[in-house]
C-alpha cells in the first residue's frame, strides 16, 4: 500500500540537527521577549506636581483635536471662531470610531511614553477611559484655566463618579441609549424594554455588541439598577439575553452600523444612541427614538489631554472655549446630543428658527428631572470584576 498520508506522517524528513536548530532559535526568541509586559498603574498625581507641570507650559499657537465622526458642524464653525478669538491654529481629526479600538491601538504607544500626536482626545465614560486614568495616561487638568467650564457646565456634568472633581476630563457631549424603531414596520408605540424581547419581532431586533450597553438593558429588563448590581444580577441578565438570542429574536449584535440597519428595515427596532436617530429624522427617514419606561443609559463623552501632548495649554483653551453658551448652542444645533451646558436651552428657544425652538423643547436633548431619574450610567468595574462581567456578556454577543 502506498498511502502518501501515512508515508508523509511516518517518514522522518528532518534530521535531529534541524530540530535542535529550530529549538535554539525559539529559545533565543523567548529569552529576548521574556520580560513580559510591565504594569503601569500610576499613583494619582499630587497637587504640587500638577501645578509644577502647568507652570512650565506655554501657549504654542497650535492644537490637534482627535474626535469621533459627525461630532462637529460640517463648516467647523466653533473651531473657526476659536481660531479667530485666540489666534491658535487647529487640526481637527475624526479618528476615533470606538473606545475599545482607540484604546487598544493607543495603549502600546502611551505605555512606551510616546506621544499620540493629539492634544485633545474624546472618550466615553466606560472601561477604557477608566483604564486611561488608572494607568496614568491622562494629564491632570488645570482648572484655573477653565473658567467657562466652572461658570457654565451643568451641575450634573461636574464631579462625575468616574472622574472625581473632573481631575482629568471635562464632558464634550452626553447622550442616551434607548430604543430606535422604524415606523414603517412597527405599528405600535414602543414604550417598554420588553419589546426588545418580544417573540413577535423574531429576527427583527438589533442589540449592541458592546458589553456595557447590552448589560445595562438586560438589567433594566430584569429590574436591576446597574449601579448597584452584583455578579448574581449579571448572571440573571446574561440568562435573559441568552434566552432572547436562542429564541431567535435578535438578528445581530451591532456596532455603529445598527442605525443603517434600522433605516433600511433589516431590523425593525434596536438599541440606539439618541443623536444618531435625530440626524436620521432630519434626513426624513421613518425612525423614532424612545427611552423605555424601565430605564435608559446615559453616557458622557469626555475631552482629555493624553500624556505627552505637545500643546497642553492650547488644548485647555480649546476645551474651555467650547463651554461658552453661544458656541455650545451652535454645536447642539448641529449634532443634537445632550449638551453639558444648560444655558444652551434658552439661547435655542430665543432663536427665530422653528427647528432650533423644537430642539429647545426636546426632552432628549434637554432631559427633565423626571427623565434623568430614569437614566442610569454604566457600572464602574474593577479589573477583576471586568473579567467576570466581560466573560458573561461577551459569551452572549460572541457565542
Amino acid at each position: 500500500m502506498n498511502n502518501p498520508l501515512l508515508r508523509g506522517l511516518t517518514q522522518s524528513r528532518y534530521s535531529r540537527r534541524d530540530a535542535m536548530r529550530v529549538a535554539g532559535f525559539s529559545a533565543a526568541g523567548l529569552a529576548l521577549a521574556a520580560c513580559g509586559v510591565q504594569g503601569q498603574k500610576a499613583a494619582p498625581p499630587k497637587a504640587s506636581e500638577v501645578a509644577d507641570f502647568w507652570s512650565t507650559q506655554k501657549k504654542n499657537g497650535q492644537v490637534v483635536f482627535a474626535n469621533w465622526p459627525e461630532y462637529m458642524p460640517e463648516d467647523q464653525g466653533p473651531l473657526k471662531k476659536f481660531q479667530q478669538a485666540t489666534g491658535i491654529s487647529y487640526e481637527y481629526k475624526e479618528v476615533i470610531q470606538e473606545n475599545a479600538d482607540f484604546f487598544g491601538k493607543s495603549e502600546p504607544q502611551l505605555r512606551a511614553g510616546q506621544p499620540l500626536g493629539y492634544d485633545i482626545i474624546v472618550m466615553t465614560n466606560g472601561l477604557q477611559l477608566a483604564k486611561m486614568i488608572t494607568l496614568g495616561y491622562l494629564v491632570a487638568l488645570d482648572h484655573k484655566q477653565l473658567p467657562n467650564f466652572a461658570a457654565n457646565a451643568g451641575a450634573k456634568y461636574k464631579n462625575p463618579s468616574f472622574d472625581p472633581n473632573n481631575q482629568f476630563t471635562i464632558p464634550w457631549q452626553a447622550g442616551v441609549t434607548g430604543i430606535a424603531y422604524n415606523t414603517k414596520y412597527v405599528k405600535e408605540d414602543i414604550t417598554s424594554i420588553q419589546s426588545l424581547f418580544d417573540k413577535k419581532y423574531e429576527g427583527k431586533v438589533g442589540m449592541m455588541a458592546d458589553a456595557q450597553e447590552i448589560a445595562n438593558f438586560a438589567m433594566f429588563a430584569v429590574g436591576v439598577d446597574p449601579d448597584k448590581s452584583t455578579q448574581a444580577d449579571w448572571e440573571k441578565a446574561g440568562a435573559k439575553l441568552a434566552e432572547q438570542r436562542d429564541s431567535g429574536v435578535v438578528r445581530k449584535y451591532y456596532d455603529q452600523s445598527y442605525i443603517d440597519a434600522v433605516a433600511k428595515g433589516d431590523i425593525w427596532l434596536s438599541q440606539a444612541w439618541s443623536g444618531d436617530v435625530f440626524q436620521r429624522q432630519l434626513a426624513g427617514e421613518p425612525v423614532k427614538f424612545v427611552v423605555p419606561a424601565e430605564g435608559g443609559t446615559i453616557w458622557v463623552d469626555n475631552m482629555a489631554i493624553p500624556k505627552g501632548a505637545a500643546n497642553p495649554v492650547d488644548a485647555l483653551m480649546l476645551m474651555d472655549f467650547m463651554y461658552q453658551p453661544e458656541i455650545a448652542a451652535e454645536l447642539t444645533e448641529y449634532i443634537q446630543y445632550v449638551t453639558p451646558v444648560p444655558g444652551v436651552q434658552a439661547i435655542l428657544a430665543a432663536k427665530d428658527d422653528k427647528d432650533a425652538k423644537a430642539l429647545a423643547e426636546s426632552p432628549l436633548i434637554f432631559p427633565t428631572d423626571d427623565d434623568y431619574a430614569k437614566l442610569r450610567s454604566y457600572k464602574t468595574l474593577t479589573a477583576a470584576e471586568e473579567t467576570v462581567f466581560n466573560g458573561i456578556f461577551q459569551s452572549i454577543t460572541q457565542g
Binding site: P4, L9, G39, K41, D255, D266, T397, Q398
Partner: protein
C-alpha cells in the same frame, strides 16, 4: 561585490523578515505564556494553561472558523477551477482583459467591498426587495446575518486568489501534451483527468493555501455579514486584544490557530502526494 552581490541584495529582505516577522512572533510566543492584567502588568509565568483555557473557552468558534474556511475553500475551488480553465484555454487574445476584470475589485478596499455586499443583500434592498415585490420570495426571506452570508462573503472576497494560481498552472500546460493524450486514444475526460488535472495540482495547492488560511482567520465577513452564532476565531482574537486587553489569551489563540492551520496544510500537502509540492507551487 561580484559573486557576493546576490547575498548583499537579499540582505534587506532577510532583515525585514527578521525584524518584522521573527521578533514579533517570538514576542507573541512569550506573551502567550504570561499571566496578569493590563493594570498590574503581565508577568512571565510560563503558564501553558493559557492555551488549554483559551481552547476550552473558544473551541466552538475555532471549529466553526475551520468549517467556514473549509467550505468556502471548497466552493472557491469548484467555482474557480472552471473559470481558470476557461481563461487559460478559451480566453484567446483577451486573456489579460479577463485577468484584469478578475482583479478589478481589488481597487476597492476589502472592508468596503464587504459592506457593499451588505447593501446589495439588504432584506428590502435592490435585490431582495424587488424579488419580494414580485412575490418570488416570501417577505421574511433574508440572507444577511446568516451562515450563508458569511461563507458567501468569504468566497467572494478570496475567489481571485484561488483562480490566479490555478490559471498560472494551466497556462503552462503544453498543448502538445494534451494532443499526445488524444493520439494515445484518451477521451476528452481522460485527457483532463490524467494529464491536465495532475499538471495543474501545484496551482490548486497554492490556491487552497492562499484562500483557506486567510478565510479561516478572517474577522471582517463574520462581523459585517454575520448574525448571532456566526462569530469566527478572528473576531475573538480581535476582542481579546483590543477590547479586553487580554494579551496572553489573544496570543495563545493566535498561536493555536497558526498551529492548527499549519498541521492542516501539512496533512493536505502529504495527501496530495507531492513531496515537494511547495517548491512546485513556487516554481
Amino acid at each position: 561585490m561580484g559573486r557576493r552581490a546576490p547575498y548583499w541584495l537579499a540582505l534587506p529582505g532577510w532583515l525585514w523578515l527578521g525584524i518584522f516577522l521573527v521578533v514579533p512572533i517570538a514576542a507573541m510566543a512569550s506573551v502567550s505564556l504570561t499571566t496578569g492584567n493590563l493594570i498590574e502588568g503581565f508577568a512571565q509565568t510560563l503558564s501553558v494553561s493559557n492555551y488549554s483555557d483559551a481552547i476550552a473557552k473558544y473551541s466552538t468558534q475555532l471549529v466553526r472558523s475551520l468549517v467556514y474556511g473549509g467550505v468556502a475553500t471548497l466552493l472557491m475551488l469548484l467555482l474557480g477551477y472552471p473559470v481558470a480553465y476557461w481563461i487559460a484555454f478559451k480566453g484567446g487574445s483577451r486573456k489579460s482583459m479577463y485577468l484584469f476584470l478578475l482583479l478589478l475589485p481589488f481597487f476597492v478596499s476589502f472592508v468596503l467591498r464587504t459592506i457593499s455586499w451588505g447593501f446589495l443583500l439588504a432584506d428590502d434592498g435592490i435585490l431582495f426587495g424587488t424579488l419580494k415585490g414580485w412575490g418570488v420570495l416570501p417577505t421574511d426571506f433574508h440572507v444577511l446575518a446568516t451562515t450563508v452570508a458569511v461563507i458567501g462573503g468569504l468566497v467572494y472576497n478570496f475567489l481571485p486568489f484561488m483562480i490566479l494560481p490555478i490559471y498560472v498552472a494551466l497556462e503552462r500546460v503544453d498543448p502538445r501534451v494534451i494532443e499526445a493524450a488524444y493520439d494515445l486514444y484518451a477521451s476528452r475526460f481522460d485527457a483532463f483527468r490524467r494529464v491536465v488535472l495532475p499538471l495543474s495540482l501545484p496551482g490548486v495547492f497554492a490556491g487552497v493555501l492562499m484562500t483557506f488560511v486567510p478565510a479561516t482567520a478572517d474577522p471582517v465577513n463574520a462581523a459585517v455579514l454575520g448574525g448571532t452564532g456566526n462569530t469566527m476565531i478572528g473576531n475573538i482574537i480581535q476582542t481579546e486584544y483590543l477590547v479586553n486587553s487580554n494579551y496572553p489569551t489573544a496570543s495563545a489563540l493566535s498561536f493555536t490557530l497558526m498551529a492548527v492551520l499549519l498541521i492542516g496544510i501539512f496533512i493536505y500537502a502529504r495527501t496530495l502526494g507531492t513531496d515537494n509540492v511547495l517548491e512546485a507551487a513556487a516554481r
